[in-house]
Amino acid sequence: MKHPNEEELIAYHDGEVFQREAIAGHVAGCAECHAELERIDAVLAALNTMTVPDPGDDYGRQVWQQIAPRLRDRKAHWWDFFLVAPNAANWLEPRRWAAVGAIAGLVIVAFLAGRFTRRGGPEPIATDASQVRERVLILAVGEHLGRAEMILVELANAQPKNASQKQVNISAEQRRAENLLEENRLYRQTALKEGDTALANVLDELERVLLDVAHSPQEVTPAQLKGIRQRIEARGILFKVRVVDSELQRRGESAKPSPAPSTSQKNERNKV
């Protein structure tokens, strides 16, 4: 093997497995490379002697005291019940049974209300509960996708204000992506429950992109921005969002009172 270069020696020192045996064999027999490896080790070993001040045993408590007044009270939502990963012990908690009770109560009330309003009326204007639920979901998801699409378009067009600017500020898009994440997750789970796998899949991909944006630094270099764009483009997410959004709009129009849509339309969209 020829002499490994500096990058390969540093990677070897870091424990890189690629060509490890070959480099080890070479270094064992090459005084020059062995000396170079020792010099790398010496610098890194010296850096390891740098001390970090001990913040003290009480540090965690101090941090809590400083941030606690700045934490907004997190209100528990009924849907937390569905969002939190299931754990056998948790099913026994009163809060969970309260959530189950509340949902069951709502279902019963909706059922009774439906029966009551139908009785004696001239023509049943309202459709069945599943149609109403689906229409509400279509409208809400459509609006959600519209907002997500705007973020994606803005990111696709973001660029430094002038040639000398080395960073692009995407904090506004980042904040909006963060805000959309929670509802995106809820819609995805609802779509899954409704058996609308295509919509759930698109929302799942959208969630990954939103997470990517939300976790990016507030200011990114043009290269980082390009990376974000490439990841968005690689998923074709903007196209998928637009297709699903326009399809939802069509469904929203056609699903007003009458025909039961579901299966065939869902199947059609599952091809997206």
């Binding site: 870091d14 070993a45 937390d80 200011e219």
Partner: protein
């Protein structure tokens, strides 16, 4: 004052349960996470920022952001790693901001008061002390801080995560929002810069390693 619920205090409880309780509205459960992870996040933040004041700010901000974004946390992941990543991202932003403020204030480039945010030209301008003097006066540590301050925020993050945090290349790439090969290259550049800055002051450890090839 609200008491911490006993089930959260038991030693066997894990981060996932504390996260779940926080999401369910139990704010005291988040305190457990803060108290458990503050010191390790502080170590990371100190190494990234180079001074205690900024490190403490990073720690506080990391936990505040973690609280706000807790719904995005994947319950199967490690909370410590997650908050570590939030802290890294915030520290990068903070370092970049400081650096650009420094550049505006002192375009010529001078050492800051804490010796951290230095213009690269400062290294050349500084007369390098002799190794003897460094050893005698403990200036090696200052020289190392100085060398670290010459790294870009991304390089410093990559170096700290790789060499002090034990992070893999994929994890670093995620924190830097870059590809794996770019992250690998950033780690290399950071070590290369540190070598250039410190080689004159550091002696190889020699015989301790002479017999083996594995360092």
């Amino acid at each position: 004052m609200k008491r911490m619920s006993p089930s959260v205090e038991t030693p066997g409880d894990n981060d996932a349960l504390a996260v779940e309780r926080t999401l369910a509205g139990d704010r005291e459960a988040f305190r457990v996470l803060v108290e458990r992870h503050s010191t390790s996040v502080f170590r990371l933040a100190y190494r990234m920022t180079g001074n205690q004041h900024d490190a403490e700010e990073v720690v506080q901000e990391a936990f505040l952001r973690a609280y706000q974004k807790l719904r995005q946390f994947d319950g199967r992941a490690n909370f410590g790693t997650w908050v570590y990543r939030i802290a890294s991202n915030y520290a990068i932003d903070q370092m970049r901001q400081r650096r650009s403020e420094e550049a505006k204030r002192e375009p010529v480039g001078r050492a800051g008061a804490d010796g951290v945010e230095l213009d690269p030209a400062a290294l050349v301008a500084d007369a390098a002390p002799s190794p003897e003097r460094l050893a005698q006066s403990g200036e090696l540590a200052a020289q190392m801080r100085h060398a670290l301050s010459l790294l870009t925020p991304a390089e410093r993050t990559a170096f700290v995560m790789r060499h002090w945090g034990g992070s893999g290349i994929e994890e670093i790439a995620e924190a830097l929002k870059s590809s794996s090969s770019a992250a690998k290259n950033t780690v290399f550049r950071s070590v290369q810069k540190l070598r250039q800055a410190l080689a004159p002051f550091v002696e190889p450890r020699g015989q301790a390693k002479a017999m083996g090839t594995e360092l």
